[in-house]
């Protein structure tokens, strides 16, 4: 597998980036934007940005953190944009916050959990996604989002409290 870039940006590196990070980045952006199309657009912007800026990474963790942080920032900018605030996705109107395209593949509980997470504020959604889906530690989340460790811990704790109120204690207990 192609390693991180050492100043060499070519087709091989592009393939490596897409294979390694595209899925992770799109799903992360989805947790922020709650829309798969916006998530794909944001992920695409992140990869193009990386090629344009050509940053030099010290390690794979550094590379991953850069991609995650850039993705989060782009999603924040999207949500802050006036166009986004003034528009309502068509599928949301039709499906009433139904986030899964293939509802038949998952059970009702998974759908309920996803709906509960998507109802959280954006800053809590991202932390929950990174912690539970991507398996990142609080320290890694802090480094990736440039937020202090206590802040990340507080957000995660408050997100759990809100999820317990929605889903019940049995979902989040070990």
């Amino acid at each position: 597998m192609y390693s991180i870039s050492n100043g060499t940006f070519d087709d091989e590196y592009i393939k490596y980036l897409l294979d390694t990070y595209s899925d992770m980045l799109i799903r992360l952006c989805f947790s922020y934007t709650k829309n798969i199309h916006d998530a794909e657009d944001m992920a695409q912007d992140v990869f193009v940005e990386l090629i344009k800026r050509k940053p030099s990474f010290e390690s794979a963790e550094h590379e991953k953190a850069w991609i995650i942080r850039t993705g989060v920032n782009k999603c924040k900018n999207l949500l802050k944009s006036s166009h986004k605030r003034m528009s309502v996705p068509l599928e949301d109107e039709i499906n009433d916050q139904n986030f899964c395209n293939n509802d038949n593949d998952i059970d009702d509980e998974a759908k309920t959990v996803l709906d509960a997470v998507m109802s959280l504020p954006a800053k809590y959604r991202v932390v929950v996604h990174m912690f539970y889906y991507q398996g990142m530690t609080i320290k890694e989340i802090s480094a990736a989002t440039k937020a202090p460790i206590p802040t990340v811990g507080t957000r995660l704790s408050r997100a759990k409290t809100l999820l317990k109120q929605t889903l019940g204690d049995d979902f989040l207990d070990e």
């Binding site: 947790s31 990869f47 344009k52 986030f99 998974a110 539970y132 989040l172 070990e174």
Partner: protein
Amino acid sequence: MNKFEKCYTAAVDSIEISGDFKERTAVLMRKALEEAPAATPGIRVYRLAPIAACIAVFISAVAIYGRTSTDMSYIEDTEEAVTEVTAIVSETAVTAAAEEVTESSTEQSQPPKDDSAAEEATASSESYTESVTTAAETSGEISDTESDEAIVEEVLTEDEDEADLTKTQSTAEETEEAPELEAAEFEPPVETAAVSVLDEGSEEDVPVGASIEESESSGDISHKFDVRVNSIEGAAALLAMTPDSGSVIPEASFTDEETGEITVGHTVELDSTSAAEILDEVTNAVGNSTAVVTEKIPDEISSDFTVELCSEECTLRLYVSHSRITVVRYDLEELRVRSAEVKISSESDIYDRLMKLTSDTE
């Protein structure tokens, strides 16, 4: 892994991503990759260019200012300083010319042109030095002229008559210029002393004509103060300060056609002792005041009436109220204003005397 984690992972994994996402993104990334090498350095240069230009302008401005200020400070003084400046300037010109020669020789690499350029540079530096030297000589002439004037002054001083004449002329010039300055802010200064009383609401430009009559028939020097007040109360107020020696003489009355107000003019005669007492009292009050003396006139002064005292040195304007006297001192010689607020103590009877006399007059 708890139930939430399993359900959430399953739900997120079930989200379908477009099948051609990687292909579309790869195309865009390759396109960006082709544009990036040319674009990135250009952007950096574009961003740095204004900053570099600002730094260059700043350094140039500092250099120009430093040279100009140095030249000015030196030229103001002596021949020695001018000579020093000449040396600095000529040295700078020679250095600049030498730099030009070096640059031209480096760029063109043609020895014959180097010589000509060096000659031109030397010639220009010499001509520049000559011009500066000429300027220095001119300034030296100026300083010589000044020293000549000083010598003339010394010669004149030796002659006592001429020296006296010079002094008289200068004194005359000063006396001609000084009243113009004072008249801009104050009434014409009175030779000895004058008192004017202005009631509250009266205009401050009421003329305070102070005519002084010295009569030595009785052996005492009495000063007549021509005071204009615009009400009986105002005159009474003045009398209250000198109850034994003053007198109020109704002089004229007229009615303002626009406002309908009746204005009465009075002449009050005070002897010099009373005037001196008033001045001393006020001066002591100001001197003993613990209030802060400010160098400006307060914006708003509430007072029941105003008293103005003039002398050769200063004009004192008193704003009198129940509890305090605000004193504004216009220093005629130093042309400055000081003000102080003097509290009237409960033991003082200044205001009470005024009020008593005012009621008696009514």
